[in-house]
């Protein structure tokens, strides 16, 4: 039994569940919008995030992509399907969330949060988790990727497994 891979698979399911619920919660709330989070942006990219919030059409698209994107990434991670793609997308999302409201020195937000953070917050930790998932092939260990790979992978010489 590869305990480390089992542990990583468990982590992948946890992260996937988290993403899926975040996505579904936004989809089922009739009036969710990223505007609040975007408008509270601080840091080097705050101007860009705030300008997204200010353009209604762009904002609508962002809301759509965020809510569906999170849900889809979540499902893919839970199932272990297209894991690398899903992990990359997940890293992309969380990186944006992190950069929008980074816990740098002297920064302060109105969004109620628990815990105390300095530079490293849960977003960054989740990025770390996704990096591990990305680079360890957990989907191929215990996930639909294993089936997909078995059915469709082309034979290559010396494919490093």
């Amino acid at each position: 039994m590869r305990w480390s891979m089992i542990a990583i698979t468990l982590m992948r399911v946890f992260v996937g569940w988290h993403f899926l619920y975040e996505g579904i919660a936004k989809l089922s709330a009739p009036s969710w919008s990223a505007a609040g989070y975007l408008k509270a942006s601080r840091g080097p990219f705050s101007a860009m995030f705030k300008s997204i919030a200010a353009q209604p059409n762009l904002l609508d698209n962002v809301n759509l992509i965020t809510s569906w994107g999170l849900a889809i990434v979540g499902v893919l991670l839970i199932l272990g399907l297209f894991t690398r793609l899903a992990s990359l997308a997940g890293i992309g999302f969380v990186l944006l969330f992190y950069l929008c409201n980074p816990p740098f020195v002297g920064y302060f937000y109105s969004i109620p949060t628990e815990g105390s953070y300095l530079i490293v917050n849960k977003n960054l930790v989740e990025i770390g988790a996704l990096l591990v998932i990305l680079t360890t092939g957990s989907g191929q260990f215990a996930g639909l990727d294993r089936i997909v790979h078995a059915l469709f992978a082309r034979p290559t010489l010396a494919t490093a497994r």
Partner: protein, 472 residues
């Protein structure tokens, strides 16, 4: 890649074997589990939403309180409006000497809300005849408060009496004694004591977080524009005999009793007592000295015996140190209306009862520690972003961006009429479910502080209080 099963890959596409399928599908049940958890949560949320759609009748186990309203004038009608929104009250009687007008209107309103009330002119007859009465709400002129409240307490009723407790100190004192003697509840109508914003400021901001630091000075006012005396429609005039019977020399005095000596105490008592009550409450102390200047600067002295303008300075010895509080009331100009401003060495609290004007703003002194913790706890809102002023061109020195104090608001809004929470508190206490927020003994201390002001104006000299003055 790490973790892959050792299998030779050079043989072409592997066949799918059973181990692959098992391991491949191993995490699919997690999705099923998610679906189940999510559905459970949805059902729970739906059930909660249905619960919130409760029927308008009071819950079955809410003890019904039988109530009479004594005094159907302007304030009586305000209290009526609030009480009609409180579940579990059954109105039995209305007593007012103006049968032709106010009494009729208030009775009709009760009937519209399906309360079959009996109408009385004489409160003694009401207390005699109404057999099922638990509480009386008193909104008669100040000079009647003592007699009305004491009689009702002695008749075994709980009493909610409008402020000021009485127009005389002896009257107020006798009310406290009657309450002690009878053991019934006596709540005085300083409704800010139950206002959620004021409670939030007192409990969370001042007592727990101590956001203002040490409150060294206080400023407050109630400014009102000139308005004509209250009149009455000719066709509903009260016969002189009845007016005399109840202590009024004419219809004008009946409508404007607040301005007459022996009946009310003038604007400083009508308006000031609310805010001076808050001063003592928030400072946690009774005043030690008072100095006041006032006069009737504008109105006709024949019909305005009390002062239309009063400016007061109180001294307090608070637990944190000495404090001076200024208060003014005037009835010739309404500039900036009414508010209380508490100024401490670490912050300022500017507020009023109004949900519209001065609903509550806090300013953090730039030298005070950050209020982040309190923002995250939801005690105050996040600071409004301050616009930084641009540096002026050609400035030689490094012009520091102007630092205005961070501005926060209160995350509490009152959605009900202003007097509702205080009346609710009274009725909860009647049912044994709460303690009074403004019991008579507490209100007595405010009465002492407020009634002294008119004395101080007359004396043209600073007056002192002794701690014993505030106890009965």
């Amino acid at each position: 890649m790490a973790g892959q099963d050792e299998k030779k890959s050079s043989d072409g596409p592997r066949k799918l074997d059973r181990r692959d399928v098992l391991k491949g599908l191993s995490t699919v049940p997690a999705l099923g589990l998610f679906g189940y958890a999510w559905q459970t949560q949805r059902k729970y949320q739906q059930a909660k939403a249905e619960e919130a759609a409760a029927p308008p009748e009071a819950p079955k186990d809410l003890q019904v309180v039988n109530v009479a309203l004594l005094g159907a004038g302007a304030q009586g009608q305000v209290l009526q409006d609030s009480m009609l929104r409180i579940p579990g009250l059954r109105f039995r009687a209305v007593c007012d000497i103006w049968e032709e007008y106010n009494q009729k209107r208030v009775v009709n309103t009760f009937r519209k809300f399906k309360h079959e009330v009996n109408a009385y002119e004489d409160y003694r007859e009401m207390l005699d005849k109404e057999k099922e009465l638990d509480a009386v709400v008193i909104a008669t002129p100040d000079f009647w408060h003592a007699e009305h409240a004491i009689s009702c307490l002695k008749a075994g009723k709980h009493v909610y009496c409008e402020k000021e407790m009485s127009n005389t100190l002896e009257g107020a004192r006798s009310m406290v004694l009657a309450q002690r003697e009878t053991g019934k509840l006596l709540q005085i109508g300083h409704q800010r004591r139950s206002n959620p914003r004021y409670l939030h400021c007192y409990n969370k901001l001042i007592t727990e977080a101590k956001l203002l630091g040490r409150i060294v000075t206080v400023n407050g006012q109630w400014n009102r524009a000139v308005s004509p005396d209250l009149g009455a429609p000719d066709r509903y005039a009260i016969p002189q005999a009845r007016l005399t019977q109840f202590g009024f020399k004419d219809m004008h005095q009946f409508r404007n009793w607040r301005w007459y000596k022996g009946k009310g105490g003038g604007p400083i008592v009508d308006l000031g007592s609310h805010q001076i009550d808050i001063y003592s409450w928030f400072l946690g102390a009774n005043p030690s000295h008072v100095m006041a200047s006032g006069g009737n600067l504008y109105h006709d002295p024949a019909t305005h015996e009390w002062y239309d303008t009063v400016m007061v300075v109180y001294d307090y010895d608070t637990p944190l140190g000495a404090t001076k509080a200024y208060y003014q009331t005037q009835t010739t100009n309404g500039s900036q209306g009414y508010f209380e401003n508490f100024m401490g060495d670490q912050g300022t609290l500017l507020m009023s009862e109004s949900e519209m004007n001065y609903p509550g703003t806090l300013y953090r002194d730039p030298n005070a520690p950050a209020w982040d913790e309190w923002v995250q706890k939801g005690y105050v809102t996040a600071p409004k972003e301050q616009e930084t002023k641009p540096k002026s061109e050609g400035a030689i020195a490094d012009v520091r961006e102007s630092v205005s104090p961070d501005q926060h608001t209160l995350p509490v809004t009152l959605r009900d009429p202003y007097h509702q929470p205080h009346l609710q508190n009274f009725f909860d206490a009647v049912r044994g479910k709460a303690k009074l927020n403004c019991p008579a003994e507490e209100a007595y201390m405010t009465a002492v502080a407020v009634l002294k002001v008119n004395e101080a104006v007359e004396a043209r000299a600073p007056l002192s209080f002794k701690p014993e003055d505030f106890k009965v």
